[in-house]
């Protein structure tokens, strides 16, 4: 792998992102309605007030001009003002990104730490009771709707036992570490459950492929113990298919977990997106979607780099 590869990939991403921004801008403007329609339900909003708001946000320009204006501001780092709150888009996103990264990051880290051994063990003991139990658990985890498992946890731990706060990120006037951890337990559990289930399946199938390879037999023939064979010879190769999935899943963190954030009243990006979508808050939507797009593009580059690191036979040149 070379530095020039990295530079080429990064440069290649720039026209890609321009293309994405054009498509996104077109799509959100093609969707019926507009940002001022939220006020339409309020009979006391006068037409003059709406005209003033429209002019202030440049909504009376033709869409191509709005795009050029948005793009030229974005390039120099001005993300615009949210129509819904009147505050800078970047401020709003940064405010919501912290809670989202906290929740998503912890969930993903936990999911990885659990999915890896589960996947490896069930591959190594393929067909055993343990494998069957893990498989059953994984399918249950994939199939359980998040809102249902969330409700169930709230019922048990908040209503019946009264141990955990049912929602929110911190208590009013508290916010100590222990208070925040208590608020994290249920959303992290719910969010990591489905991820553990799906990742462990990818790792398991990658491992099964690799364990049937000739070089694994050779390693056993050398007299290596099973744990050493798996950890030193098989694992790196078995991870390659899982890496793509994990890299992309990691990126989706920054787009927020809409359902989990809604059910647990978590002040994250996912809820901001839904609010902005409902209100057709164009600048905010563009900011959020561009951030997500940049994340996905970067994640792909990182996944490619990770392949090369895991498997020396894969070379980017």
């Amino acid at each position: 792998m070379s530095l020039s590869f990295l530079i080429r990939r990064l440069l290649g991403a720039i026209p890609l992102l321009f293309g994405i921004s054009l498509v996104l801008f077109t799509i959100i403007h093609l969707a019926p309605g507009g940002p001022l329609d939220v006020y339409a339900d309020n009979p006391s909003v006068s037409a003059e007030a709406l005209d003033q708001i429209r002019a202030r946000y440049g909504l009376d320009d033709p869409v191509p001009i709005q795009y050029v204006k948005w793009l030229s501001a974005m390039v120099v780092g001005d993300w615009g003002l949210s129509i819904r709150t009147g505050r800078p888009v970047l401020d709003e996103i940064v405010l919501r990104l912290g809670p989202t990264l906290l929740l998503g990051g912890i969930s993903m880290a936990l999911a990885f730490c659990l999915a890896l051994p589960l996947g490896v063990i069930s591959a190594a003991r393929r067909g055993s009771r343990l494998d069957e139990a893990v498989t059953l658990g994984a399918f249950a985890g994939i199939s359980l709707p998040v809102f249902w498992s969330a409700l169930l946890l709230q019922l048990i731990f908040s209503i019946w036992l009264g141990w955990l706060p049912s929602a929110g990120m911190k208590s009013v006037g508290d916010g100590s570490l222990s208070d925040r951890l208590l608020h994290l337990i249920m959303p992290v559990t719910v969010l990591s459950l489905a991820t553990i289930a799906s990742w462990s399946r990818y790792i398991r199938s990658g491992m099964i492929d690799v364990l049937g390879q000739d070089y694994i037999r050779t390693a056993y023939a050398k007299g290596r113990r099973e744990t050493a064979v798996i950890a030193l010879h098989a694992l790196r190769n078995a991870m390659i298919p899982a890496v793509t999935v994990i890299a992309i899943d990691f990126v989706t963190i920054i787009s927020g977990a809409v359902i989990t954030e809604t059910v647990f009243a978590w002040p994250g990006i996912g809820r901001l997106f839904i609010e902005s979508m409902n209100g057709r808050d164009y600048p905010m939507l563009m900011g959020l979607m561009m951030m997500g797009s940049v994340g996905v593009v970067l994640a792909n580059i990182i996944a490619d780099l990770a392949y090369a690191a895991l498997d020396p036979r894969i070379r980017h040149g």
Partner: protein, 536 residues
Amino acid sequence: MMTTTRRAMLKAGAAGLALAAMGGTVAVAQNYGGTLNVGLTYEIDTMNTYSTGYLADAQHTIIEGLLAPDENAQYVPVLATEVPTVENGGIVVSEDGQSMTITYTLREGVKWHDGEDFTSEDVAFTWEAVRDPAFIAESKSGTESITSIETPDDYTVIVNYDSIVPDFASTLFTFGIMPEHILAGQDLNTHEYNELPVGTGPFMATEFARGQYVVLDRNPDYWRTAENGDQLPYLDRLVFNIVPDTNTLMTQLRSRELDMVVKTPYNQAAQVESFGGYELIVGPLLSWGHLDFNFENEFLADIAVRQAFAHAIDRNVLIQAQGGFPEAIKSIVVPIFEFYDENTPEYEFDPEEANRILDEAGYTMGEDGIRTKDGERLSFEYVTAAGSADDENIQQIIMAQLAQVGIEIVPDNRAGVALREARYNGDYDLYYGRWITSADPVYSIFYGTEGALNGQGYSNPELDAVFETVENSIDTETRMRAFSDIQRIVAEDLPTLPLTTNVSLITVTERLQNFTPNPTNMTNFVDTAEWYLSEE
């Protein structure tokens, strides 16, 4: 008053014995202190009452206006000493009858939360700030008809209007007065006031954690005292928690993390009784559900068809489908308003009569059970909010009821902005929706020929003329007569079928005392000073 109510019933039941024992007098000491946790289902966008896109529940505990609507939607004085009327000389109509002047006398000794005195300068400033085109806000109505404001002294405000404005109290000055000493010369779009506003109200904004909660603490220097001399307010703290998911809202009530939810979903209200410790209060709401006809459709432009609709729909079934909470209405003016006319003509539920009218008008029953005229079937596209369980249930019922008289309904439901766009542009044959209004709504925006919210292509010069009278007259009797005319004309000409008036279901801890629901868009939190929590 129609605060119905389970609260009244509960009180009667529970207090009955106690009353008997104490010989009819209830002497309860009001307690100071305590925190009330309220659940809100929307994300607060800004704490400024003039620019928020939502009803300003939390904001109204901080910011006060000159007047405010009470639990009967009648205006009462807050920062003004009395409600100006023609009788008390507060409103003076010019000799030519074309303009008016309103004089407010302000309450003395009121202080802003930062200790500054509240004066007439603040009132004048509020008008100037809200009408400034640079200030992005939707609640600007009422500013455009004011030509100037005079402040001869600190406690007198003279407002000059260029026309007769009977609904002068509905927005400006009622939504709240802004502090001149903080905001003069500042950019109101970005000022910190939008996060932590400074008001004169019973509670002060302490913390606004976006997407999480707003914390409001007791204002120790509040200007009001209770009748018994107690310094108000009683509560130490109000916390508005933002909980977007209604299931979670119910969970938080059960787990005692919330004390109050002002918008209990109709379909979950039945659970509340099983939680224990909460009461469900059924409050009136200035809201009505209506089925609108699009006059671009030639069949619907025929009064016979509209009358058939009116006779074919059984409102009782609609009410049952909404948990039994709403009430049937026959007028677009809901019964809680003083202008409601109970003599408004009514169409009995009578499918026979509907069939007779349609037969007479030449709509013949086809083989498929749907009537036709000139080879065209009596079939209509019906638009309502997709995903709203109540609205979609209503649609199913209306479909079934109209099928009985040979009218076919085809649902064409949309969500969010797509729905509003359809409503604006009249992209429907039938539209079902609800309006929620202020205490003194302007009905011409719905049914006037030029009405901003008239998407149905309805135009009736007679009705327009009555709207003109209502909106330019300050004389109660003239207005009363005109309102009766409006209700009669709408009921006879049927541009819309008013079906039910909705209620608000408020779940509140049994410990909260002195709470009465407020039906207006000033929310239930417009008067929180006397609320207190009884002992557990």
